[in-house]
């Protein structure tokens, strides 16, 4: 009798667990659907964005319109009140009120993003929550290799739209966060909202072909001899700087985080390097002098010089890794 009762309890518990498990999709499935929703969803939302720069936290209320790959972000408060960023799916244009200085950058497609992301991160479904009156899954993306940033996403259980997005630095400090307090899926944003004025010159543009890059900047960019495990080359960019000269930027990604390597051969590129050649920043022997330009929470910036080319490595990974990348240029 007692034995039958125990078996009955076990069967009841097991069937309950199976039922719960059947309700809960795997975190990989949730992320896959979230990525699809990022390409197809339509909505209008309001919320708050936080970011840390130079040790300070800045925040802004934002209104966001999405229609497939097109988006429009309006900054309603904070230091950039009135700024609008329009992404027509290919090109992003940033418009500042009272400033005839639109900044334009072209996007590059990122193929196989989910595979790269999941190869380098462990996705964990850590629970459920409510954001903007919507029931959400909470999914953590933790790096498989130490010294890399992590992320936590709050994903709508019905639409798979990300309603809150927190980013953490390699040492676990929050770098940025955007959370919606209101979302309207019935909204059909007008196509006019995603139309760029098209008045600005391209400031950042992706290139696939090394020969094109070389022709434009007049030198052949160098690839680093070392990149951290999990990162792969994600393309060249040419960035027009405020000193009027162009930088070549090499992008490396692990699916969630980017390491950028800027290279330039004009005297204005590089940045002041007060510690250059001193103390532990100089590699033993007669190797290149690598110095730290900035240690911000969102990214650290290291500099090296090879011949007449200045190299600046920027990323949110462990300092020793960034230093190793910067020192690997010969």
């Amino acid at each position: 009798m007692k034995k039958r009762l125990l078996i009955g309890i076990a069967i009841t518990l097991l069937s309950g667990y199976v039922a719960v498990s059947a309700d809960q999709p795997s975190p990989q499935d949730i992320l896959k659907k979230a990525l699809q929703a990022d390409q197809t969803a339509q909505y209008q939302a309001t919320g708050v964005s936080w970011a840390w720069t130079d040790g300070k936290q800045i925040s802004a209320r934002v209104r966001i319109y999405r229609s497939g790959t097109r988006s429009r972000v309006e900054y309603l408060s904070g230091p950039l009140t009135g700024m609008v960023m329009v992404d027509d799916g290919k090109t992003v244009e940033t418009l500042m009120p009272g400033c005839g200085c639109p900044s334009v950058r072209e996007n590059a497609a990122s193929p196989n993003v989910l595979n790269t992301l999941l190869a380098n991160h462990t996705a964990k479904l850590v629970g459920s929550d409510t954001i903007a009156s919507r029931s959400v899954y909470v999914v953590e993306l933790l790096p498989k290799i130490k010294g890399n940033p992590s992320s936590k996403l709050w994903i709508d259980k019905s639409t798979f739209v990300i309603l809150r997005n927190d980013r953490y630095s390699a040492d676990g400090k929050m770098v940025s966060s955007t959370r919606f307090d209101k979302v309207d899926y019935s909204a059909r944003p007008s196509p006019a909202l995603f139309r760029r004025p098209g008045t600005g010159a391209i400031a950042v543009k992706p290139y696939e072909n090394l020969a094109d890059v070389r022709d434009i900047v007049g030198f052949a960019p160098i690839k680093p001899g070392y990149v951290p495990r999990g990162y792969s080359f994600g393309g060249y960019y040419i960035s027009r700087t405020l000193c009027g000269r162009s930088l070549v930027v090499l992008k490396y990604t692990n699916g969630l985080n980017v390491i950028s390597i800027a290279e330039g051969n004009c005297p204005c590129v590089g940045g002041a390097c007060p510690m250059r050649g001193h103390g532990p920043r100089r590699r033993a022997g007669h190797g290149p002098a690598v110095c730290l330009l900035s240690a911000n929470r969102q990214a650290r910036v290291f500099r090296n010089t090879v011949g007449d080319i200045s190299i600046v490595v920027t990323g949110n990974v462990a300092d020793n890794e960034l230093r190793k990348i910067a020192a690997s240029f010969q």
């Binding site: 900054y75 990122s110 992320s151 051969n265």
Partner: protein, 163 residues
């Protein structure tokens, strides 16, 4: 579209152009480029101003410089070998002209370099942080609203530190 590579080549010749030291063909090629490139034209104008300053500056040697050099040369000569500096200049006219030209070009080069260094302040780390945020835009699950804040604020800080 303007080629950065072409500009780089042309800019190397601009100091010589400013001093009228280019050959006819090279000068024509540079002139053709600067007609269509405002940046290079501006740089040439700046270089010409510096060259004019150098040419019009009234630098004078200290009064005892030449007698002192002359006396030192004389002590190093064997007796009977000295024929006078003017005689040496007459027999080595070409060499002396080349040497004088080299000294002037070196001086102008040093002055130009100082001037160019002054005109090209170094970019700060803000530029790299802004670019970094801009190219992170297309990563999966990128927080675009926050990236927009970071990239624009960093660019503004870079603009603020420029004179």
């Amino acid at each position: 579209m303007k080629s950065e590579g072409k500009c780089t080549k042309i800019r190397k010749m601009l100091p010589y152009h400013a001093m009228d030291a280019l050959g006819h063909r090279t000068r024509a090629s540079v002139d053709e480029h600067i007609r269509s490139c405002a940046d290079c034209r501006a740089e040439l104008d700046a270089l010409k101003k510096v060259a004019t300053l150098v040419e019009t500056s009234e630098l004078e040697a200290p009064p005892d410089m030449w007698p002192s050099i002359f006396a030192r040369l004389k002590t190093r000569m064997e007796p009977g070998q000295y024929r006078g500096i003017s005689a040496w200049l007459r027999t080595h006219r070409m060499q002396s002209m080349v040497a004088t030209g080299a000294v002037i070009i070196t001086l102008v080069g040093v002055l130009l370099n100082i001037q160019l260094q002054k005109e090209q302040p170094q970019l700060t780390y803000h530029t790299y942080l802004a670019t970094h945020a801009a190219i992170s835009w297309t990563e999966p699950f990128a927080d675009k609203a926050a990236l927009g804040l970071i990239s624009t604020l960093e660019l503004q800080k870079e603009a603020d530190v420029k004179p």
